[in-house]
Symmetry: C2
Subunit: 147 residues, 2 copies
């Protein structure tokens, strides 16, 4: 079940709390990557008591559980994105409007080979991300880079 969030949380041994579900729902409905602070703002509309650390913690847990993905932004701030595509893949992110698109290319096999054969080390994780302007933003006069 793609968006059976309670089941998803159960599988990760995370309790099914209204706030966890809301965070997931917020990210799922959003078509762009969001910062923890932005998720928090949206959460405050739904819950009268909601702490920013709760948002940070949940986003981190969900990211660790591979439910959401972390965006590696040039400004080095945290952003998260919920992607429906459950298979291993990477992203193009628009630096202007924050849209995310899937990149159907990953050199993981080649990287694995290099690391094991040549470097003789252990690959723990890899980052691949393409930053740019999406089709729409390419045609806009003013590029905006909001943090």
């Amino acid at each position: 079940m793609l968006n059976d969030f309670p089941l998803t949380l159960k599988k990760l041994n995370l309790k099914i709390t209204p706030k966890r579900l809301a965070i997931l729902e917020i990210l799922m409905k959003e078509s762009v990557y969001l910062s923890p602070g932005e998720v928090w703002k949206k959460m405050k509309k739904r819950f009268k008591r909601i702490g920013l650390p709760t948002v940070y913690r949940n986003l981190e847990e969900l990211s660790e559980g591979n439910i959401i993905s972390e965006v590696t932004h040039p400004n080095r701030q945290l952003y998260y994105y919920f992607c429906q595509n459950r298979s291993h893949h990477h992203h193009f992110i628009c630096l202007s409007c924050r849209k995310v698109e899937d990149i159907n290319f990953c050199g993981l096999n080649e990287l694995e080979k290099e690391v094991t054969k040549k470097i003789k080390g252990k690959l723990l994780s890899h980052i691949m991300q393409v930053n740019g302007f999406c089709r729409h933003c390419l045609n806009k006069k003013e590029k905006y880079f909001d943090s």
Copy 2:
């Protein structure tokens, strides 16, 4: 000339200051990635007056000029590395001892194709990095993750 730093700086329209040269020299002699604070500590041994912002600024400029490369660390702190290899390539970084090794694989062509053909956007930059344990650290009992 590979390490003609004055020439390198001139090409980038950066003034040839003793501190710039020292920062480059420090990074070049180091076999691991360093944080700005760590570079600063080493600079303080050479200059009695040296500000941390100067180190930050210089590292950023040198990185922009592609003289040194920024490390995308999982802890999201800044680290820099001077790599002799002047051609476009990517890195394996050891999360334990901080060693950096070149990865002779890059999907840039494929990424370009995806971005222009499928996404119809503009590729501004891309990140590819492999994080892991190097051969040496794989055999150590204790992994250490110093910030």
